[in-house]
C-alpha cells in the first residue's frame, strides 16, 4: 500500500499548482479529496473541542481553515492528524469569536509550523510506526486490532476467539489504551 503521507503531499502540491495556474476546478477537486480522506478523523477531533451543535460549528471552521491551508499555504503536510488537531484548537476560537459577534480572523491560520503539542499519538505517521506501537500488545490484542483494521465484524472476531462480544470490546479498549500510553511514553512523532 502506498504511504498515505506521500499521497497526501502530492494532492496538496497538485492543488496548489492548479490554484496558482488558475485551474480552480482541479484545485477544488484535490482539496475535496484530501478533506474526504480525513473527514471522519476531523469529526472526531472536533468533538474533543466541543459537544453537539457546537462541535459541528468547530468542524465547519476547521474545514474552512483546512481548505485555506491547502490553497494558500506553502508548507508541506507532514502529518494530517496533527495538523487537524492544531487547526481544531483555532477553529474553536473561531466559534467563540463568532458567538461574541467579533470579526472572523485568520491570524493563527498563518502558522501551522509549530510542533503539534496535543497527545503525541496524533503524530502517528505511517504503517511502520503503527506496527511498532502494536508490538506492545499481546498476541490476542494484536489479532483483535488487526481484525478491526481489516473491517472484520465483531461477531466473527468474537466467534474466532470464542469470547463474548462484551469481552471483545473490553480487550480492544484495553489494547487501545496501552497503545496510547506507549505512544505517550515513547514520545512518538517528536
Amino acid at each position: 500500500m502506498a504511504d498515505p503521507s506521500v499521497y497526501d503531499a502530492d494532492l496538496v502540491r497538485r492543488a496548489r499548482v492548479a490554484h496558482t495556474a488558475g485551474d480552480l476546478r482541479t484545485a477544488q477537486n484535490h482539496a475535496a479529496e484530501l478533506w474526504l480522506r480525513y473527514e471522519k478523523q476531523a469529526r472526531a477531533i472536533s468533538r474533543k473541542r466541543a459537544r453537539g451543535d457546537e462541535a459541528d460549528e468547530v468542524l465547519g471552521h476547521l474545514q474552512l481553515r483546512f481548505i485555506k491551508w491547502v490553497y494558500f499555504r506553502q508548507d508541506e503536510p507532514r502529518n494530517m492528524i496533527g495538523l487537524l488537531n492544531q487547526m481544531a484548537s483555532y477553529a474553536y476560537g473561531d466559534v467563540q469569536r463568532h458567538e461574541a459577534s467579533q470579526p472572523v480572523t485568520v491570524e493563527e491560520i498563518e502558522d501551522y509550523r509549530q510542533p503539534h503539542t496535543d497527545r503525541t499519538l496524533s503524530a502517528i505517521l505511517d504503517r511502520a510506526e503503527i506496527d511498532q506501537l502494536m508490538s506492545v500488545l499481546s498476541e490476542r490484542e494484536r489479532l483483535i486490532i488487526e481484525r478491526e483494521l481489516a473491517d472484520v465484524p465483531d461477531s466473527e472476531v468474537a466467534a474466532e476467539l470464542e469470547i463474548e462480544p462484551n469481552n471483545l470490546h473490553q480487550i480492544r479498549w484495553r489494547a487501545l489504551k496501552r497503545m496510547r500510553e506507549a505512544a505517550d511514553q515513547q514520545e512518538w512523532g517528536s
Binding site: 482539496a31 478523523q41 472526531a44 474533543k48 459537544r51 453537539g52 470579526p103 486490532i145
Partner: protein, 201 residues
C-alpha cells in the same frame, strides 16, 4: 471483569459504527453517555480512526464536495464581479439595490455605499471586516450567494484590480496633491458613518 471497561468498550464499538454510518446525532449521544470519560472515549475513537488510516473517497463524492461553497477558491472581488456580470447588473443598479437592502435612503449615504462597494469589488476592503448585514444583502441581491460569500471571506483578495491602478501609478500633478492634502475632510454625515460601520471601515 471491570464493568466500566466493558461499558466503555461497548460504547467505543457502537460509536465507531455510528461514525461509519454518518449518524452524527447518535455519535454525540453515545459520547455524552460516557459521562466523565467522554474525552477518553473521543480520544479512543480518534485513535481507532487514525489506525485505520485515510479513507478512499469515490470520484462522485469528491466532485460533489468540490462544488460546495466551502471549497470555492475565488476571492470576493472575483465572486462579486462574476455574479454581477452574470446577472447583467451595472454597478449603479447594484449600488441602489444594496443601499435599499441596507435601509440607506439619503443621497450622501448612497454615495458612500457606492464608494465602499467599489472598494470591495476592487480588492481594497477586507471581506473579514464587513458586517453580516452587508453579506446578507449581497447574498439576496445575487440570489443565494450568501453561503459562498461566507465561506470565502478568508480567501486572500489578491492584487488590486486594474480599476484602482491609478493609485499605484500616482498623479502627474504633484502640486495638486499637496493642495488636496491640505484640505480637511468634511465631517461624515450620520448615514455615511452608518455605511462605514456596515462595511467595517
Amino acid at each position: 471483569m471491570d464493568e466500566r471497561e466493558i461499558q466503555l468498550g461497548n460504547l467505543l464499538a457502537e460509536t465507531l459504527v455510528a461514525f461509519g454510518e454518518g449518524r452524527s446525532a447518535d455519535v454525540d449521544r453515545l459520547l455524552d453517555s460516557a459521562g466523565d470519560d467522554r474525552l477518553e472515549l473521543v480520544e479512543m475513537v480518534e485513535l481507532s480512526l487514525t489506525l485505520r488510516g485515510p479513507a478512499s473517497p469515490s470520484s462522485e463524492a469528491i466532485d460533489a464536495l468540490a462544488m460546495t461553497p466551502a471549497f470555492d477558491a475565488r476571492s470576493w472581488p472575483e465572486i462579486l464581479t462574476e455574479a454581477r456580470h452574470a446577472q447583467g447588473l451595472k454597478r449603479p443598479a447594484l449600488v441602489a439595490a444594496l443601499a435599499q437592502h441596507l435601509g440607506i435612503v439619503s443621497p450622501d449615504g448612497e454615495e458612500r455605499v457606492r464608494e465602499r462597494y467599489h472598494e470591495i469589488e476592487t480588492g481594497q476592503l477586507d471581506p473579514r471586516r464587513i458586517s453580516s448585514a452587508v453579506v446578507d444583502a449581497l447574498g439576496e441581491i445575487f440570489g443565494g450567494l450568501r453561503a459562498v460569500l461566507d465561506a470565502t471571506r478568508l480567501n486572500p483578495i489578491g492584487p488590486l484590480s486594474p480599476n484602482v491602478s491609478f493609485m499605484r501609478d500616482g498623479f502627474d500633478d504633484v502640486d495638486g496633491m499637496v493642495l488636496m492634502d491640505m484640505v480637511l475632510p468634511a465631517e461624515p454625515t450620520a448615514d455615511e458613518r452608518r455605511v462605514d460601520e456596515l462595511f467595517g471601515v
